[in-house]
Symmetry: C3
Subunit: 344 residues, 3 copies
């Protein structure tokens, strides 16, 4: 029994510790197709080699979130097996496209620790890097989770809380090498709205909706080799429900956002994110976005747009996000803040 | 809110108008594998590179219906988002195989318009072409749909109803270049029945059946980037049921038809098709075929066979197709008329 | 109606008969990705090209069980369409890796026949070989099934019962050419336990569990082109339940066994196997393993480990396997005996 992975407890983390996560994964055409079967993804750069080539790339890269999920999945056995809650994300950046045939692995460094006042658990901050087969970093982000202690009596570590900017500075966004939107084909991309057409504060209701099935979220979560029991084992929770991996909701909402944001082609930064309420099979997921900011880039024809992406089970943007006490409304599933690249 | 696609209404179509549909799609090994996971497809040319090479091709092409669904899916946001009904197909021809790595896009030309007498809607005929990355047409078909008017008071256009032959003339069938069935391996193909063994009027009950799941039809429909809400959103219809994309039933029935028609290797024309009744998850789909016609081809060892493919939820061929008033029986899901290629 | 495959009955088999099974199948990146979406598979050699290359291979081969299921699926229309029960496996050996792009076909030779005393059915033993596109045998195993007679009155054949060793002799195990575990990266593989750390008699509870969905087992079973009605047609059994393909349980249990046996990288032999009880959607599958034997190999840094892999719907290893009458407990789904390769 001792040969199985019990997961790390709060006591097992130390500032500066680097964890080399197991099982590298080669991603290719099969993962791409599954991504498109699992989510209504239609952003043209990730759908068509020809479109991507016309935008200056060598071909269609793997979906931005596919890279994220693969890297995230590697961290689960080491970071969140005993996690009580996934508390937040910050400073996420996509640094290099992932190409079909690339092999991804992940490493995390512990950058923050703070025991909770109840002595039962603590918060762990890690900076995770996804690396490809030549050792280049493709993705880098900070995540923090609440982790149970093995023994409430064990001493609390010196608290270290990293100072994390709320937003990735647009000057730090990395545009994929060669990307050029000066000859962008708006017809083929699916919408005519360009960077200049979006106003800060503008809200877009993405209209479409998808009712979630058990088989689908499990296929997705396994594809990312995310092993958290709670997603697969209907006997694990007292209510017999399988909790859907938060990343499934992220990808579903992002794909739904095509309708109104078809030209927000590539995610390049994750500023923040909250899984506001759990999602279960049978929920019908909707999405709306708010334009939070805009910034130019040095790349030809390309602007950056900062978007809040909200997934809900039912309500639209008119309902808002939070109640009068500042708590997320029960119908809010996801509140994500990211930067994407868009044609000028 | 105005940035999302409201779909076209009847007034938005004009004779001669050409619509360049959005989001080109590269299809490859992943889409092929998913096709085989979603449908019990076993026609050997689409299953084995070696078998296809022995038949004179360069390798196994993508499944004929995979090409059709991909092209069809592209047209949905422009043609059928506000459609009340998918009325028919005609003059469909497969002109070139789709190979793994090909990128497909689609264009439709409006060839017919007729307002309904109620003034609320009209019929739109489009000729859709699927093109690959070098601009060659891989597929060409006519479809007509009933589309809502935006405003019942808007004037009716001059009616134009295209003259569509009921059947593709066998002289117009295109056999893939190089295809040669003179050395056809009937053992590996799975059945011994050749073109000469089928008689016009012969009916084949395909025996097998598949009970449909929500997760599967949604995976399929997303894979073709078909975005019609009604397939995904359980809150969309009053009865809480998700309508299954008609093409899912076509592929399911075609795959079931292997048992008795294993050598009807490649679909080369779609003469007509009716989605007789809606299909929902939980339905158990069966299929039977009737040989409608046979024709020789100029290609070595290859005959053409015209087949009616009927999908039902329960009944077999003995029940027939229609009631005494000429209406499809409630258990009939699909009545499809196509030409396929078979070894002599 | 006579054109469909009625399947073979007991009378249709004769000792020495060789059946060339239909529909060769090319397997590639898509099948690999689906395998990883369907099962929580994480053994590093099948997950990462880089890891496999570091172990001396040319890249990541297709999962060992993916090859098995593909070959097995080919045999179903000829061997088990009228089978009453799948009785056992013996002498299974993986002889060559299956690489992405390989085309697999299968042949079976009848090596045993014995009519049952009731005269209604008989047992058929076949030795099945899976071959790749150049005709090399990639997999070889014996399976026996109970098959219905077409006519109870037909005479019984001379009984021939093959002499099948209970275990593949470790001297007969084939290690893939070039495989070398001397530089094995235990961090990336996910566990530190090496061959020397496992003791004969040791039992490992794999802790994780997966609740099975209809859509998933049907996707898997179709992917292997296994056509047995009972897996797909909810109207086939009187209880309206679809029987899950036994191989789905094998792959699920093997994948779950990663947690505790992450370094049992490659299956090289199947000694025996029993599908102890049927599995249905809604069952939550767990797994435990018992170390049955260990043997050295001539290959660098590689030992062989013989494992019993047990899948259950609920109970752990403490419950045991059988009741006092020697019958499998009702919660036992699978009792599989195999050899795997592990770093020393």
């Amino acid at each position: 029994m001792t040969k199985t992975n019990p997961g790390r407890f709060f006591e097992d983390y130390a500032i500066g510790q680097t964890i080399r996560h197991a099982v590298p994964r080669t991603v290719a055409e099969g993962e791409r197709a599954l991504y498109h079967a699992l989510y209504p993804a239609r952003h043209a750069i990730y759908s068509s080699d020809e479109f991507a080539i016309a935008c200056g790339l060598d071909g269609s890269p793997m979906d931005d979130l596919l890279g994220f999920h693969t890297v995230f999945g590697k961290t689960v056995p080491d970071v969140s097996l005993n996690a009580v809650a996934n508390l937040g994300y910050a400073q996420g950046r996509w640094l290099l496209p992932v190409w079909p045939g690339d092999t991804l692995r992940a490493e995390s460094r512990v950058i923050g620790l703070r025991q909770n006042s109840n002595g039962q658990s603590g918060v762990v901050w890690v900076r995770t890097r996804g690396l490809n087969q030549v050792g280049d970093v493709v993705l880098d982000y900070v995540r923090w989770v609440m982790v149970r202690k093995r023994d409430a009596a064990s001493p609390a570590p010196e608290p270290v809380v990293p100072d994390l900017p709320a937003v990735v500075d647009p000057a730090d966004l990395v545009v994929p090498e060669g990307l050029n939107f000066t000859g962008y084909d708006f017809d083929l991309a699916g919408e005519t709205h360009r960077w200049g057409d979006y106003a800060v504060g503008e809200v877009i209701d993405h209209v479409d909706a998808v009712t979630i099935e058990e088989a689908e979220h499990m296929l997705a979560t396994r594809l990312w080799q995310n092993t958290a029991k709670v997603h697969f084992d209907a006997t694990h929770r007292r209510d017999g429900r399988r909790l859907i991996y938060g990343g499934h909701v992220i990808s579903m909402a992002r794909a739904l956002s095509f309708n109104g944001l078809a030209n927000a082609q590539m995610i390049v930064a994750l500023n923040a994110g909250a899984h506001a309420n759990p999602c279960f099979a049978g929920d019908t997921v909707r999405a709306w976005s708010e334009v939070l900011d805009k910034a130019p880039t040095d790349a030809p024809g390309i602007g950056a747009i900062r978007l809040r992406l909200v997934a809900t089970k039912g309500c639209g943007p008119a309902a808002g996000l939070r109640d009068s006490d500042g708590r997320y409304l029960p119908e809010i599933l996801l509140d994500l803040d990211y930067w994407a690249l868009m044609p000028l």
